[in-house]
């Protein structure tokens, strides 16, 4: 019998809310192999094999066919090349994990209210300093597409792995794009979101592999 392989986030609020969501659908996750083991089952259901993975990894594994279903963030799928969207389908947007990917600048840049200002400042910056403005981000692809769509071409992406909010104040970048749910971390780090600087409104989603789009198990998740 073919067993459906499902991936869930391995930590944090996304893990807790994913478990709660499954429970609300009468699918209770049980760690049959112990608390620290990554594999899990669903109580009274032997059609499912489950694994806890990093949210980013879940999309990768659905794409390569190792997983059939997974819960992860929409932002993580959108950041990947278009070919992923051909294999990884959004089955359902969930009511948790809400966060926006935004453009944030130092709060004292009073002259910059919107992306049009940023476009102008980026040209001036290049003229004055002989280099392009740097944007630190964990989302280089989404950032690049958004900036170009808003006419900001004079920039360079600086990949960041964490603590992105600190970059403008350590000389590592001039501005950032980052994911935020309340904006409080940005505020605490003297950053401000640009008026029209919302790149993506994200939430947790159930992603499914193209090959199981019509599987009857999915009815349980609706």
């Amino acid at each position: 019998m073919y067993k459906i392989k499902i991936g869930l986030p391995s930590k944090g609020r996304l893990k807790d809310e994913s478990l709660a969501f499954l429970k609300s659908k009468n699918l209770q996750v049980v760690n049959s192999f112990g608390e620290r083991n990554y594999f899990f089952n669903i109580k009274n259901n032997n059609e499912i094999d489950g694994i806890f993975l990093h949210a980013r990894e879940i999309i990768e594994r659905i794409n390569d066919g190792t997983l059939d279903i997974g819960i992860s963030g929409l932002d993580l799928l959108k950041e990947l090349p278009d070919v992923y969207s051909a294999n990884v389908k959004i089955f359902k947007k969930l009511n948790f994990g809400f966060a926006d990917l935004v453009v944030a600048i130092p709060k004292d840049w009073l002259d910059v209210q919107n992306m049009a200002d940023l476009e102008e400042v980026s040209f001036e910056f290049r003229e004055k300093y002989g280099r392009r403005m740097r944007v630190a981000t964990k989302y280089p692809n989404l950032t690049e597409s958004f900036f170009l769509s808003k006419g900001v071409s004079q920039f360079r992406v600086v990949p960041s792995l964490g603590a992105t909010e600190s970059y403008p104040f350590t000389g590592s970048s001039e501005l950032i794009t980052d994911i935020t749910s309340t904006g409080s971390t940005l505020k605490a780090n003297n950053l401000r979101i640009i008026n029209d600087g919302i790149i993506l409104k994200s939430s947790a989603c159930i992603f499914v592999s193209k090959k199981i789009e019509k599987n009857k198990f999915l009815n349980l998740l609706k």
Partner: protein, 362 residues
């Protein structure tokens, strides 16, 4: 396979003939580098350039691209060889670009470039050299434009300085430019509520050391731009009027013989200063006098905007085949390109290339 070999032979024969023509016009053949340091392209045109180029990282992490364009390669050659006088180059080779699906497309081109010339006949020499091999083609259509004219139009409009800069800088980005025109018709970029709040915060900023740095910019830079912005307002009426003038200007389409009178009367009709335009149009007149007799040339103000390094005259030669336009050659002036690639100043330059892939299929 047989067809491919035949095409290759045809291209070789044709290229020999065209190159000998270029050489007669005193263009010197040059071999161009196949690979370009990607940072030179991105520093110039921004990150979007990478989307169209085949790029890879070498063992030391340096990004290298297959040349997407032979004009850029020629300009780099001029800089690398430390030239400082007029050079007339001709070349034969391929340009490599990725299409929207990410597939590599190869364009076999044969072309010539004149860099750093003070000769006011350079445009005529170049355009003539490119069109000469095509002159026997029946129903050859030539379109001429001049992207520098738009800059003069914008200068003569009553607009905040930052909008003038913005319109000129984004003239080559057609989709975004349209977006900007829509914004210009409204007061979208000035949020009065936010300005009120920020004016209060401005006082705190003014108390700081004006040379201190906030996110890579000096405090004085921020304060200066903020003051300039709030003192440089525009109203809806003028915005709409200016957008109409810009749109009407971009619809000008006439024979080259009537280009000067059409543009001058457009400026008069819209009560725009036409002193600099008359001077500027001398170049179009020279082209008309020498080349306008030999070819059917249309002048379009909206033409030639797709390539961001063109600064002046731009041209395209094409034919219609089964109601489809086949582009045979194109080129233009690029007086600012060399400085952005590392040369010490702006220098006059013009170039053009024939698309051999299309030419052999005629």
């Amino acid at each position: 396979m047989k067809q491919a070999l035949e095409n290759k032979r045809l291209k070789e024969d044709l290229s020999k003939k065209i190159l000998s023509n270029f050489k007669k016009n005193k263009f010197n053949f040059t071999d161009l580098d196949l690979l370009i340091d990607t940072s030179l392209l991105t520093e110039r045109s921004g990150e979007q350039f990478k989307k169209f180029t085949l790029t890879y990282k070498d063992l030391f992490g340096k990004e290298i691209s297959l040349r997407p364009d032979l004009t850029v390669s020629t300009a780099l050659k001029y800089i690398q060889e430390k030239k400082n006088k007029e050079e007339k180059y001709c070349y034969y080779g391929s340009a490599y670009r990725l299409d929207k699906e990410g597939d590599l497309k190869v364009f076999d081109q044969i072309g010539c470039e004149i860099i750093n010339s003070n000769n006011n006949k350079s445009e005529n020499i170049l355009i003539n050299s490119i069109l000469e091999p095509l002159k026997k083609i029946k129903k050859l259509e030539v379109v001429l434009g001049d992207v520098g004219l738009f800059k003069i139009l914008v200068e003569s409009l009553e607009l905040p300085a930052r909008w003038k800069l913005r319109l000129v800088k984004n003239f080559s980005r057609i989709e975004y430019f349209e977006d900007m025109l829509k914004r210009l018709e409204t007061n979208y970029d000035l949020d009065q509520q936010a300005i009120k709040l920020d004016t209060k915060r401005l006082k705190d900023l003014e108390k700081l050391d004006q040379n201190s740095i906030i996110g890579g910019r000096t405090v004085s830079e921020i304060v200066k731009r903020f003051n300039k912005k709030i003192k440089d307002p525009r109203d809806n009426y003028k915005g709409k009027k200016n957008v109409k003038i810009i749109r009407d200007f971009l619809n000008i389409n006439s024979s080259i013989q009537k280009a000067e009178s059409t543009i001058v009367s457009f400026f008069s009709k819209n009560k725009l200063s036409n002193l600099s335009i008359k001077n500027y149009l001398r170049k179009i007149n020279r082209i008309n006098k020498e080349i306008g007799k030999k070819y059917s040339i249309n002048f379009k103000t909206n033409f030639g905007r797709n390539t961001d390094y063109y600064t002046g005259v731009v041209f395209l030669a094409s034919v219609k085949k089964n109601s489809k336009t086949i582009e045979l050659a194109r080129g233009g002036e690029y007086n600012g390109l060399l400085r952005t690639l590392g040369y010490k100043k702006d220098i006059p330059a013009i170039g053009g290339a024939i698309n051999l892939n299309e030419l052999i299929n005629l």
